[in-house]
Symmetry: C2
Amino acid sequence: MAKAESNVDRLYDALRGMAAEFAFKPGERINESALAQQLNASRTPIREALNRLVAEGFLTFQSGRGFFCRPLSPEAVLDLYEARVAIECEAARLACARASDDDLAELAAWLDRIAPDYVTATDAVRLLEMDEGFHRRIVALSGNGELARLLDNLNDRVRYVRMIDLRAMQRGNAARPDMMAAHRRILDALTARDAEAAAQAMRAHIARRRDEAAQAVREAYAQLYVPDL
Amino acid sequence: MAKAESNVDRLYDALRGMAAEFAFKPGERINESALAQQLNASRTPIREALNRLVAEGFLTFQSGRGFFCRPLSPEAVLDLYEARVAIECEAARLACARASDDDLAELAAWLDRIAPDYVTATDAVRLLEMDEGFHRRIVALSGNGELARLLDNLNDRVRYVRMIDLRAMQRGNAARPDMMAAHRRILDALTARDAEAAAQAMRAHIARRRDEAAQAVREAYAQLYVPDL
DNA sequence: GCGCGCAAAATCGTATACAGATTTGCATTA
DNA sequence: TAATGCAAATCTGTATACGATTTTGCGCGC
C-alpha cells in the first residue's frame, strides 16, 4: 500500500510481504545472509527489519539461533479471529457514538458503489480487498488510532488464511450476497445509532468466517507444501 | 519480569523499561551513540532493540532522522484505555465460556488472599501490580494468547499514566474498596456464567479510570518536566 | 535586528569483519 | 545398525568504519 522510498523501508515492506504470504514456511528458520543477498543489502538492515516483524508477531526469535517464521496452527488463527472480534466490536460501538451522519452516508455510498463488484468479482484478492476496506472504514469511524493499528496488524497476519477461506467460499456457493448483506446490516445498525446491534452484527459476521478457519488452515498447508495447484 | 540472560535481551529490557517510564521525554529524539555508550554496547544491537520498540508502539521512527519517544497526549492515552476495553471485555466473555470452575475458584481465592493489601497497600506500585494481576488472570482464562499479548503491550505503554492516576486516587479518597468491589463483581459475573454482565462490569471498571486519564496526563507532564516532587 | 545561506559538526544508514555459538556430517565404537 | 563424540562448516552477535544526510551555528547582507 504505502510505497516508501528509503531503502530500509523497501526491505521492511519486502520482508513483511514475504512473511505475510508465508514465503517462509511455518516454523522455518530464516537465513539472514541468504536474505541479504537476495534483497541486495547487508545483514544489518535486514536484521533491523526482522526485529520489527518479531514485535509485530510475524516471526519469532530465539537467542543464538536466529529468526523463525511464525507457526501456522489452527489455534493461533482462531486466536486472531477472536482478537478481530474484540477490536471490531468495540470499534463499531465507538463509531456508533462518534461517526457523523455525513460519514455514515459516505460509507453507505461506498457500499452502493462497490455492490456490483461483490457479485462480479472473480478473484478472491479483489473480494478480500473490499471486505477489509469495509472493516477498516468502520475502525476509522471509531476515531481510535490504536484500534486501527491493531486491526491492520491482525489483518496482515491472518490475510493468507482468509484468502484461502474466501476462495473456498467462492467455490462452494454464492455466499457473497451474504457478506454484502452482513455489511449492510452493520451499517444500518450504525445509522440507527444502536451500538448493541452494531456490535452484535459485527460479531456474527466475523464469527461466521471464524468457524471455517480451521479448515482453511488445513488447505493453507496443502498450498504451502505442494508445488502448485 | 522475565530475566533474560543474553546481552541483546538485556539491552531490549533496559530500553523497554526506559521507554515505559519515559526516561526519554515525549517527542524527544533518541541519540543512539549516547545510548550505546551508556549501556555498554555498540549501536548495532541498540538499533535492533529500538526497532522492536517502534513496532510495539513505544517509539516512533523517521527515516533519516532516527528514533523518537512516543508523544504523550491525552488522545493517545484515551485510545489506549479504549483498546483495553475492547480486549478485556472480549476476554471476559470468552473466559465466561471457557474457564473451569476450578480456575474461577482459584481466582476467587487469590482475590481473598490479597484483599487485605488492597486497603493496606501504601504504594501505588503494589496497587497497580495487584490490579494488573487481576486483569492478566482474566485474559489468561480466556485461553487466547493473542489477547494476552495485546493486553501486555497496552499495559506496558499506559503504565506510567496509570501509576500517576492511582497515586492521585490514593490521595483523593479511599476509592480502593471500589476497585476491589469492581473486581469482585467481575468475578461474580464469571462465576454466574453471565457473559454479558461480565463484559459490562469490565467495561464500567475500566471506563471509570479512563475518564481521569486526561488529568493524569497533565500530572504526568508535571512529573516529567519538574526535577522532583 | 532579522532572515538567509553556507560550512562544520553531529548523526544516521549500512557494509564489512571477526569472534563465538550452533549445527552438521563423518568417523568410530559398542 | 544405532549411538556417540569430535571437527569442520555455518550462522549468529556485535564492534567498527565510513559515506550520506541532517542539524547546527555563524557570518553576511538586507
